[in-house]
């Protein structure tokens, strides 16, 4: 079994990071009593790979003009995003206690005004973030930045028309510095994507829109890393193409009773279920659970930081 990735990154460490993200997601959601565990658990490896090495970002140099940018378009899965940020040194671990609480920086959907250096754009209403990612990619090209833009969307989210406008924009403007990651778990709130509004064959769609499109196992960190790091392809005129990575994921991954169940899109587990979930997820080597702040410390459900 392989233990170092394409960039010499420690694969086991990334897997453990994914495990820790899962633990954090469950603890954050059960802690506050609401949130979206299903999609967040399913994207644990995606976030671990991104913040465990793929993204060229540095907590000590937040304004580096050549840094990579990450845009979370399917904002509802932000528990995993905040967890990854904290594990990568961008947020204090204990701040995860404030998730979805009054006055917190960790809003129920990412809010740029609360975290201007970490959240490129506020998301929540599906289909909005991707266009913003394109705009950032255009600006980076204009400025000659070496930074790339990676944007994550949900599969259900791709039913929004604005996503298809953005797909056309990225192709037209030859955004080779943009990678779109689709967390394809086949589920959305009302059930199977296939039955709600089918997206398949998605690769053929991307290709007919002039994109390069790769597919990856969304829970295999090596597969993801390879897909995220690939250099852009060029079209017959020598211009770079944007790249889509369809990451096949499992809603609720890692928690057997949640796996592949649409009801876990946005339901909060009971404390007992949360215990069971944490047991199933197991411990992450080299990582620790964030410390619980008592409600007293948090002064009646309020976040510690403004």
């Amino acid at each position: 079994m392989q233990t170092t990735g394409t960039q010499g990154i420690d694969i086991d460490h990334i897997k453990d990071m994914a495990t820790q993200i899962r633990r954090d997601v469950i603890r954050m959601i059960v802690g506050v009593g609401s949130g979206h565990p299903g999609g967040a658990l399913g994207a644990a490896e995606i976030f671990a790979v991104l913040y465990g090495g793929v993204l060229r970002v540095n907590p000590l140099n937040l304004k580096d003009p050549h840094r990579d940018r990450f845009v979370l378009s399917n904002g509802h899965i932000c528990a995993a995003f905040y967890s990854a940020l904290s594990l990568a040194g961008f947020l204090p671990r204990e701040e995860l206690n404030t998730f979805r609480r009054l006055d917190s920086r960790l809003q129920g959907h990412p809010a740029r005004v609360k975290l201007p250096d970490l959240v490129e754009t506020s998301s929540g209403p599906l289909g909005q973030g991707f266009s913003v990612a394109n705009g950032i990619a255009l600006a980076l090209k204009l400025d000659g930045s070496r930074g790339r833009v990676l944007c994550l969307v949900g599969d259900g989210e791709m039913q929004e028309g604005q996503v298809w406008e953005a797909i056309m924009t990225a192709a037209q403007h030859k955004l080779g510095n943009l990678t779109l990651i689709i967390s394809y778990n086949g589920l959305q709130i009302d059930g199977e994507v296939r039955k709600v509004k089918d997206l398949m064959p998605l690769k053929a769609k991307f290709e007919s829109f002039g994109w390069e499109c790769a597919e990856a196992d969304g829970h295999d960190v090596v597969s993801l890393q390879r897909a995220f790091m690939a250099s852009p392809m060029v079209d017959p005129t020598g211009q770079e193409k944007p790249r889509a990575v369809i990451a096949y994921t499992v809603m609720g991954k890692g928690v057997p009773f949640m796996e592949n169940k649409a009801m876990w899109h946005g339901s909060c587990p009971t404390p007992t279920q949360a215990e069971e979930a944490l047991l199933a997820i197991g411990k992450a080597k080299g990582f620790e659970d964030y410390p619980v702040l008592s409600n007293r410390t948090m002064s009646k459900k309020k976040g510690g930081r403004k």
Binding site: R100, G124, K197
Partner: protein, 320 residues
């Protein structure tokens, strides 16, 4: 009486829809991946052929509803308030309002009592966005009973109609059996010292504030303005004439909604001091509904404060 205990306002809608399914074969229902949140899953189960799952595509859903209406159906199109009124604004404007298509738009998540989801999901703009459209009727029931009745009436009422339904459990103030008339406000408490005009979940807050005021000898008239457009001009002008001061309260921006409708009207017919209680032109945030109501100034205490201010302006605020 249909509901007696505190109930989510949207439940009154879901229940009425189920009855409409039986009563009126022209009624069809559309949703954009939010069946249960807006309580159309009951209808979907019972009348699958007349239920259209549209996926996460609110603009297209709104246009499709207009098409169904043009072809003779009575579509109820459902999603969160922000997605119906902001995201799908152009289809509402062009295909529903300008066409005078018989579409009923029913939403949850209007206002700030949304819980952890935060600002993007808290529509404090929906009433303003709908009110500016010619021919749009706007109804904001104050409890599950009123939502139930309003839904039944909406199905018979010709033309575009917006129905804003609260998400959280709300006490019951109205009787499930009395008649409900679009455009006809309901005076819940008599009084002539000042008038409080409220809609939706804020009607409860108004009643509580009125109680507190009464303890200090101030008799407020409390008006449940369930129809924001066309607003009950008579009730507003009468309140201005007889009470001399008005306070409005709504779970919406102080811009463009009930408060604006009232100030437009009194400025034209009978200028009196008006204080508008609502979200003060800022975005919302995550938190528990009661925490948010406090932080954003939508409590009985805030309302009493506004009443004091408006009475002070008339030189009659000493006692509050």
């Amino acid at each position: 009486m249909i509901f007696e205990k505190p109930t989510p306002i949207r439940d009154g809608f879901g229940k009425a829809l189920l009855e409409l399914g039986e009563k009126n074969p022209r009624v069809v229902v559309l949703t954009a991946d939010l069946s249960e949140a807006i309580r159309v899953h009951w209808f979907a189960e019972k009348y699958p052929k007349r239920f259209f799952q549209m996926g996460i595509a609110e603009s297209d859903m709104m246009g499709t509803a207009a098409g169904l209406a043009v072809a003779g159906k009575i579509p109820f199109v459902t999603t969160f308030a922000a997605f119906a009124t902001s995201l799908a604004h152009t289809p509402v404007r062009v295909s529903v309002a300008y066409n005078q298509a018989n579409v009923k738009i029913a939403t949850s998540h209007g206002g700030v009592c949304v819980g952890g989801d935060g600002a993007t999901h808290q529509s404090i703009e929906d009433i303003a966005l709908m009110r500016v459209l010619p021919g749009m009727t706007i109804v904001v029931p104050c409890d599950a009973n009123e939502a139930y009745k309003a839904t039944l009436v909406a199905a018979e009422y010709p033309g575009p109609l917006y129905l804003r339904l609260g998400r959280v459990a709300t006490p019951i103030f109205t009787n499930g059996n009395t008649s409900f008339q679009i455009g006809k406000a309901q005076v819940l408490e008599q009084g002539t010292d000042l008038a409080i005009i409220a809609c939706g979940a804020m009607v409860g807050v108004a009643l509580e504030a009125s109680n507190r005021l009464r303890q200090k000898g101030i008799h407020a008239r409390v008006i449940n303005m369930h129809t924001i457009k066309p607003i009950d001009q008579l009730a507003v002008v009468k309140a201005a004439r007889e009470c001399g001061a008005i306070v409005t309260i709504e779970e919406h921006s102080i811009i463009g909604g009930l408060g604006s409708a009232v100030t437009e009207l009194v400025s034209e017919k009978c200028p009196v001091p008006v204080e508008r209680v609502g979200v003060r032109d800022v975005f919302g945030e995550s938190g528990e509904p009661d925490e948010i109501l406090s932080k954003y100034g939508l409590t009985a205490q805030n309302l009493v404060g506004a009443c004091r201010r408006v009475l002070n302006r008339l030189g009659r605020g000493r006692d509050v």
